[in-house]
C-alpha cells in the first residue's frame, strides 16, 4: 500500500465514521482538535485502524501524534513494518 493510498483511506474513514468536514483535514492541522476527540473516541480510532490496516495501536503511541501528518506517518510506518515481517 502506498503512502498516498494510506492517506486516502484514513481521510475516507475520518470523514465517514468520525464525521469530520473534509475541508478541515490538512497535514498540519491538529488531529485531536479537528476531530474533537475525547478519551472514548481514541478507543474507536484503535478499532478503525485495526479494521482498515490490520494492526493494533497501543494507547501510548497516540502521545506522539499531534497532526494529521504525524498520524499518516505513524500508520505508514506500522504498515511498512507489518509488510516486512
Amino acid at each position: 500500500m502506498t503512502q498516498a493510498e494510506i492517506i486516502e483511506r484514513i481521510n475516507a474513514f475520518l470523514v465517514d465514521e468520525f464525521e469530520v468536514d473534509a475541508e478541515k483535514i490538512a497535514p498540519d492541522a491538529n488531529l485531536r482538535e479537528t476531530l474533537g476527540l475525547d478519551s472514548l473516541d481514541y478507543v474507536d480510532l484503535v478499532v478503525i485502524i485495526e479494521s482498515n490496516f490490520g494492526f493494533k495501536v497501543v494507547a501510548e503511541d497516540f502521545i506522539n501524534i499531534s497532526t494529521f501528518q504525524n498520524f499518516y506517518d505513524y500508520v505508514g510506518r506500522k504498515v511498512a513494518e507489518k509488510a516486512t515481517v
Partner: protein, 407 residues
C-alpha cells in the same frame, strides 16, 4: 395533597407503524405487523415468526458519539421519544431549564452483549469492542443514552420487570408525580427485535409455529391459539403534573388515574388468576372507580394457551357483571415484551382519541374462559372515557393501569 398526573405526549415505533397516524390507521384497519424472519430458522429457531419493525436511520439526526452508544432498542426508544417530546411541546431549551426525568422499561440488550462477546472471543482483545459497546450492552441502555441525548436532569433509571416493564415504568412515573417528587417524566418501554434476543424464549416452545400464515398466527383468546409471536420497538409517554401541563400550555391527552400491581408468589412462568385479580382490584381502588366505570380493557393476552386462560378468568372475576369491551392488540403486534405495557397504553389512547376499539383479530372461536368476555372481534365504534390495560411478566409480576379521558 396529591397531584393529578396527565399524559401530554405520545411516541411510537412498532410493527404497526412509525408514527402515531400510521399506527392509528393500522389499529383501525386491524392490520397485522407479523411476518417471518428466515435467519431465525437458519439459527435453529422452532419459530421464525416475528413482528416486522423498521430500522431507524439516525445518521444526520444524531452525531456519532450519541449514535454509537445506542443499542437497537435504544434507537427505537430515541425515535419514539423524539415524537413524544415534539407533540408534548417540550423543546431542548425548555428541557435544559427544567427537571425532566426518565423511567423506561427494558429487560435485555442481548444483541449488543452477544456481539461484544463474539468479538472478544475472536479478537482476544477487549479494546476492539469500541467505545459504544458498554453503553449498548447494559440493561439501562435506553435511560443511560436518552438522558444524555436529551440533557435530562430528573429521576433516571430503568425498570426491568419482564413483560410488565413498560407498564411499571408508567406506574412508577405516575406515583412519583402524584406524590410531588417530580413534575415531568419520560416513561415508556423498549424491546429489541433480533435473533439474539428470543432464542431462549423460543426454546420454551412458547412461540406460535403457524408459519404458513403469519398474520393469522397471533390469536389471543381464540381456542386454536398455539403460542405468542415475539415483537418489539418502543413506545414513549410524557407524564407530568396537571398543574405543569396547564402552566406550559401543553396538550393534555389523558389522565393516569389508577395503578395496581402484585406478585403471584408462585411459579416463575405460569400465570396466576389470584395475582392478576389483586392487581386489577388495586388499580380500580387506586382510581376510586368500580368495574362499571371501565369502558375498555386492553388485555395482556399474548396468545399462549395458559396465559390467556388465566387472564380471561381474572377479567371475568372482576368484570363479570359489567362486561366491558376487551381486545388484545397483540393479535396485530405480537408480544412486544418489555415494551408492551407502554405501547398498549399508546394504542389505547389512540383508540380513545378516535372513538374506536381496535379488534382482537383472529378471534374466531372462544374457549370456555374467553366465551365469558365481551371481546371485540372487529373494529368497534365506541366512546372510551376510561380504559384499563394489563401487563403480566415472568416471575409473576403484574401491573394494571387505568387511564381516563380529560374532558
Amino acid at each position: 395533597m396529591h397531584n393529578r398526573v396527565v399524559i401530554t405526549g405520545l411516541g411510537i415505533w412498532s410493527c404497526l407503524g412509525t408514527s402515531l397516524d400510521e399506527v392509528t390507521k393500522s389499529l383501525k384497519d386491524g392490520k397485522s405487523g407479523i411476518g417471518m424472519d428466515m435467519e431465525r430458522k437458519e439459527w435453529g429457531y422452532r419459530s421464525g415468526l416475528t413482528g416486522i419493525v423498521a430500522k431507524p436511520e439516525l445518521k444526520g439526526i444524531l452525531d456519532r458519539r450519541a449514535r454509537i452508544g445506542l443499542s437497537e432498542e435504544a434507537e427505537y426508544a430515541y425515535m419514539a421519544t423524539l415524537e413524544a417530546m415534539k407533540n408534548a411541546k417540550m423543546d431542548m431549551s425548555w428541557v435544559e431549564k427544567n427537571e425532566v426525568g426518565i423511567l423506561y422499561g427494558n429487560d435485555s440488550s442481548a444483541k449488543a452483549v452477544s456481539e461484544a462477546i463474539d468479538t472478544i472471543r475472536i479478537k482476544k482483545d477487549t479494546t476492539l469492542l469500541g467505545s459504544g459497546s458498554i453503553f449498548q450492552s447494559m440493561n439501562c441502555t435506553v435511560t443511560m443514552n436518552l438522558s444524555t441525548i436529551f440533557k435530562l436532569k430528573g429521576i433516571n433509571f430503568t425498570i426491568s420487570a419482564a413483560c410488565a416493564s413498560g407498564s411499571h415504568s408508567i406506574g412508577l412515573g405516575y406515583l412519583m408525580i402524584k406524590w410531588g417528587l417530580q413534575k415531568h417524566i419520560i416513561c415508556g418501554g423498549a424491546q429489541e427485535v433480533n435473533p439474539f434476543a428470543f432464542g431462549s424464549f423460543d426454546g420454551l416452545s412458547a412461540f406460535s409455529i403457524r408459519e404458513n400464515d403469519p398474520t393469522k398466527a397471533s390469536r389471543p383468546f381464540d381456542k386454536d391459539r398455539d403460542g405468542l409471536i415475539p415483537s418489539g420497538g418502543a413506545a414513549t409517554l410524557i407524564l407530568e403534573s396537571y398543574e405543569s401541563a396547564m402552566e406550559r400550555g401543553a396538550p393534555i391527552l389523558a389522565e393516569v388515574v389508577g395503578y395496581g400491581f402484585s406478585s403471584n408468589g408462585e411459579h416463575i412462568s405460569n400465570s396466576n388468576v389470584d395475582g392478576q385479580v389483586r392487581s386489577l382490584r388495586m388499580a380500580l381502588n387506586d382510581a376510586g372507580l368500580t368495574d362499571k366505570d371501565i369502558d375498555y380493557i386492553n388485555a395482556h393476552a399474548t396468545s399462549t394457551p395458559g396465559g390467556d386462560l388465566a387472564e380471561a378468568t381474572a377479567i371475568d372475576t372482576v368484570f363479570g357483571d359489567s362486561k366491558p369491551l376487551v381486545s388484545s392488540t397483540k393479535s396485530m403486534t405480537g408480544h412486544e415484551c418489555w415494551m408492551a405495557g407502554a405501547s398498549e397504553i399508546v394504542y389505547s389512547i389512540l383508540m380513545m382519541q378516535n372513538n374506536f376499539v381496535a379488534p382482537n383479530i383472529n378471534f374466531e372461536n372462544p374457549d370456555e374462559a374467553s366465551a365469558k368476555l365481551n371481546i371485540a372481534k372487529t373494529t368497534t365504534e365506541k366512546n372510551i372515557d376510561v380504559f384499563l390495560s394489563n401487563s403480566f411478566g415472568f416471575g409473576g409480576t403484574n401491573s394494571s393501569l387505568i387511564i381516563k379521558k380529560i374532558k
